[in-house]
């Protein structure tokens, strides 16, 4: 027994001494477990970084997306956070506030040319940067719109709210579709605030009053928000869109199979539509309901954990990852929007004349960040419930009042989310 322990100690000291001569290990957590293409690109990036210098060696640990945020929270409680973290844009302030993340020390020049969406700023400091962004567009078919005599909107001249409404009614009157428009109500969760809160913002309301982030009263239940709520509810009462019980299968295939004429969908689903409808497919900007056309911004981003003992190395890695060639690789591999003009020009889908070029313009022109404050994960849930309730016919003012109160109460309970 004693010999065994002694032997073990010998081994341990041997290993410790070899580590001392080699590079310092940095662990990195990533949310994309299960996606082979994504893994290959991330592994390639890590290999390149490890070869490019001798001080640090990044090691990847992958998690399925559904379990990722919980894993980080659990690790933070247990004091076992990795060096490099992957974080969903709107969740970042919550983690920064909780002390999980440290501000980046990456040279700002490395992301100077980036679209605004992928840069995660909180309290005036950059905590995370994304290698891509995502965007949402109205997906439709030219032939359908032309047959119904509907103008095809452009980024410079989007539909107004009335035009959009009239277009939906015209398509409904044609009788060729089960529903003229598909919002994607089957995608519960973050899709609701990501995809639908920009409508509210275009009406002039918002999830929370961004001036100081102290209350939602007046912004989520003010006159503009009520106007939005009534319009939103009318989409369902007039049977212009499928409701909350839409099946996920219909959401995925409804446009392609001709159930719906238009769909509110992200760039990640765009390639399938291009394959199906070729030149007939058209990606159109969000309608302008008064305060300009808006779509959501910010996707997954990289940041540095506050618990890391090697923050310099973690920052080095992130700076390395921000090179155009990796941005292009991610875009080509998983269809996401490359965040710089150069990486877009080099990509297959977003280059000039590429099938999804329009998304880069949309992201640039319309992208609006979701509220940047640590209470966002709570507000997102409240907003999701309010929109589902409205879709199912609950009274507009009372529903929005309740949602605004809940968000305000959460802010008060957490002392305005200031430390």
């Amino acid at each position: 027994m004693k010999k065994l322990i002694f032997g073990g100690m010998m081994m341990a000291s041997l290993m410790a001494s070899t580590v001392a001569y080699a590079a310092t290990d940095l662990t990195m957590w990533y949310h994309g477990a299960g996606n082979d293409v994504e893994k290959k690109i991330v592994m390639g990036l890590i290999e390149d970084f490890n070869k490019s210098q001798a001080d640090f060696a990044v090691k990847l640990e992958q998690f399925p997306q559904a379990a990722y945020n919980d894993s980080v929270t659990a690790a933070a409680v247990a004091g076992k956070l990795p060096d490099i973290l992957d974080v969903d844009g709107p969740v970042m302030p919550s983690w920064a506030w909780a002390g999980y993340m440290a501000p980046l020390t990456v040279d700002p020049a490395a992301y100077a040319k980036f679209l605004p969406g992928p840069i995660g700023k909180y309290n005036g400091k950059v905590y995370s940067v994304g290698l891509w962004d995502a965007a949402v567009a109205l997906v439709g078919r030219k032939s359908v719109l032309e047959a119904n005599g509907i103008r095809i909107p452009t980024v410079d001249k989007p539909w107004t709210g009335e035009e959009f409404d009239a277009a939906l009614l015209k398509i409904q009157a044609s009788g060729k579709f089960e529903y003229p428009f598909d919002l994607g109500m089957a995608w519960k969760g973050e899709w609701y605030p990501y995809a639908f809160s920009p409508f509210l913002q275009s009406f002039g309301g918002d999830i929370v009053n961004r001036d100081g982030y102290k209350t939602a009263d007046g912004t989520l239940n003010g006159a503009e928000a009520v106007k939005f709520g009534k319009w939103w509810q009318s989409l369902f009462t007039r049977k212009l869109v499928p409701g909350t019980s839409q099946s996920p299968a219909d959401r995925d295939t409804g446009l392609a199979s001709g159930k719906y004429a238009l769909s509110w969908n992200g760039n990640w689903a765009a390639l399938g539509m291009v394959d199906k409808f070729k030149d007939d497919v058209v990606f159109m900007p969000a309608p302008d309901f008064g305060k300009g056309p808006k779509i959501g911004a910010a996707s997954w981003q990289f940041g540095v954990s506050a618990a890391s003992k090697h923050q310099d190395g973690a920052n080095k890695f992130i700076q390395f990852a921000l090179q155009d060639k990796y941005l292009t690789q991610f875009s080509d591999g998983i269809g996401l929007i490359p965040p710089t003009p150069e990486s877009a020009a080099a990509s297959n889908n977003y280059k000039a004349g590429g099938p999804m070029e329009v998304f880069f313009g949309l992201s640039k022109a319309q992208a609006t960040l979701r509220p940047v404050y640590p209470g966002y994960p709570v507000a997102a849930k409240v907003f999701e419930k309010a929109l589902s309730d409205l879709a199912n016919g609950s009274e507009v003012q009372a529903t929005l009042d309740a949602a605004a109160d809940e968000i305000t109460k959460d802010i008060e309970k957490n002392k305005n989310y200031t430390k």
């Binding site: 929270t73 933070a76 919550s94 983690w95 506030w97 909780a98 002390g99 519960k188 409701g243 909350t244 019980s245 099946s247 219909d250 994960p377 709570v378 849930k381 409240v382 419930k385 589902s388 309730d389 199912n392 016919g393 609950s394 003012q397 009372a398 009042d401 309740a402 109160d405 109460k409 959460d410 309970k413 957490n414 002392k415 430390k419």
Partner: protein
């Protein structure tokens, strides 16, 4: 002396053997249970850099505060006459105008209408600080009150039917028990397809048997049918479990009693009423208590099938506890809900025990 020491030794061994189980139960059941009570009186959050503070009973007030508002018809400011609108109906101030930013009634601030009724010319409105939680409590009680007798009764019926010596009876035992073995999450997912509004199996069947006269219903998407749908599915899912308990009870009744009643010329009903039912007394209490407790913790079906919607028609107490504590990161409120549920369940269990006590007189 010698034997005393030996006894002590064996006691120590006993504790040692009990240690793994005791430690696990302590760590995963008793400690969380006590922590729940503690958190319910604090402002504990899931993620927060702020220190936990004692907040007294404010979490319970947030959840349970109720009030009654009386809305009087609006009167003309000059003549004090009751105003009527074009259709001749009385007009009332909105609840909102009284409960939002109204310094005259600080207690009612932020409360919302739960339900209301007419009393003369006035309207009485019951307002709650947390209407969603109130609805969750009501839904949970409806669920318990429907499921407990129905599930227990159907399970007894099934048990009586399969307690016969017929060829192939084991086949039916297996069939009835099958849903119990399948994970509730899988069952819920399958029933979501069955209940689906456009091309679900249930709608298709009903349409087929009524020769197309039946109009498809969006079972889970309609506030009126969502809770009954979940109730029906829940009864079906767990009925096999209670059937087995009934069956074990049935098989403890001595055959000689039935033989004796046969000789006396008893009918089937008399045999059930005077032999079977008294013999099942303790089983009945067990089944009732178990179903009640299980029904109070309704969660998985709601989480998978409706998420509490549409419009709060399927909110339940446990679903709200998880929603607040986990999704909305408010551990304190989630714990307070758990404490309320604990108080409810223990009260009802004690009442059940009292009502079903052995009468010695």
């Amino acid at each position: 002396m010698q034997s005393g020491k030996k006894n002590q030794n064996s006691e120590a061994t006993g504790w040692l053997m009990a240690f793994p189980a005791t430690a696990i139960i302590g760590l995963f059941i008793i400690v969380p249970f006590l922590l729940g009570f503690y958190f319910a009186f604090t402002n504990q959050r899931f993620i927060s850099p702020n220190p936990t503070e004692y907040v007294g009973t404010s979490n319970f007030h947030q959840l349970l505060d109720l009030g009654v508002l009386t809305l009087e018809p609006e009167r003309d400011t000059a003549t004090q006459e009751i105003k009527k609108d074009a259709a001749g109906a009385l007009t009332y101030p909105t609840v909102r105008s009284l409960t939002r930013n109204n310094p005259d009634m600080p207690y009612f601030n932020g409360m919302r209408e739960w339900f209301s009724w007419h009393s003369g010319d006035n309207i009485k409105v019951v307002v709650a600080r947390d209407v969603v939680f109130m609805k969750a409590i009501v839904n949970t009680f409806i669920f318990v009150l429907v499921v407990a007798p129905l599930q227990g009764g159907i399970a007894l019926l099934l048990a009586l039917m399969i307690n016969q010596k017929l060829p192939g009876i084991n086949f039916f035992r297996t069939i009835y028990f099958m849903p119990v073995v399948v994970s509730i999450v899988v069952v819920s997912l399958l029933w979501r397809f069955i209940y689906s509004g456009d091309n679900g199996l249930l709608n298709a069947l009903l349409g087929f048997f009524t020769f197309g006269a039946f109009k498809p219903v969006d079972w889970l998407g309609n506030p009126a049918t969502a809770l009954p749908s979940i109730i029906a599915m829940s009864i079906w899912q767990a009925v096999g479990f209670h059937m087995v308990i009934w069956l074990s009870g049935l098989q403890t009744i001595p055959v000689s009693l039935y033989e004796a009643s046969d000789i006396e010329g008893a009918t089937s009903w008399q045999k059930f009423r005077f032999v079977t039912w008294p013999g099942l007394r303790n089983t009945a209490i067990l089944v009732l208590v178990v179903i009640t407790m299980q029904a109070f913790t309704l969660f998985s079906q709601v989480a998978v099938m409706t998420q509490g919607g549409p419009v709060d028609s399927t909110q339940t107490i446990v679903f709200q506890a998880v929603q607040r504590g986990y999704a909305k990161q408010d551990i304190a409120t989630g714990s307070a809900i758990s404490v309320i549920l604990f108080a409810l369940v223990i009260t009802i269990s004690l009442i059940q025990r009292y009502l079903t006590r052995e009468s010695n007189t």
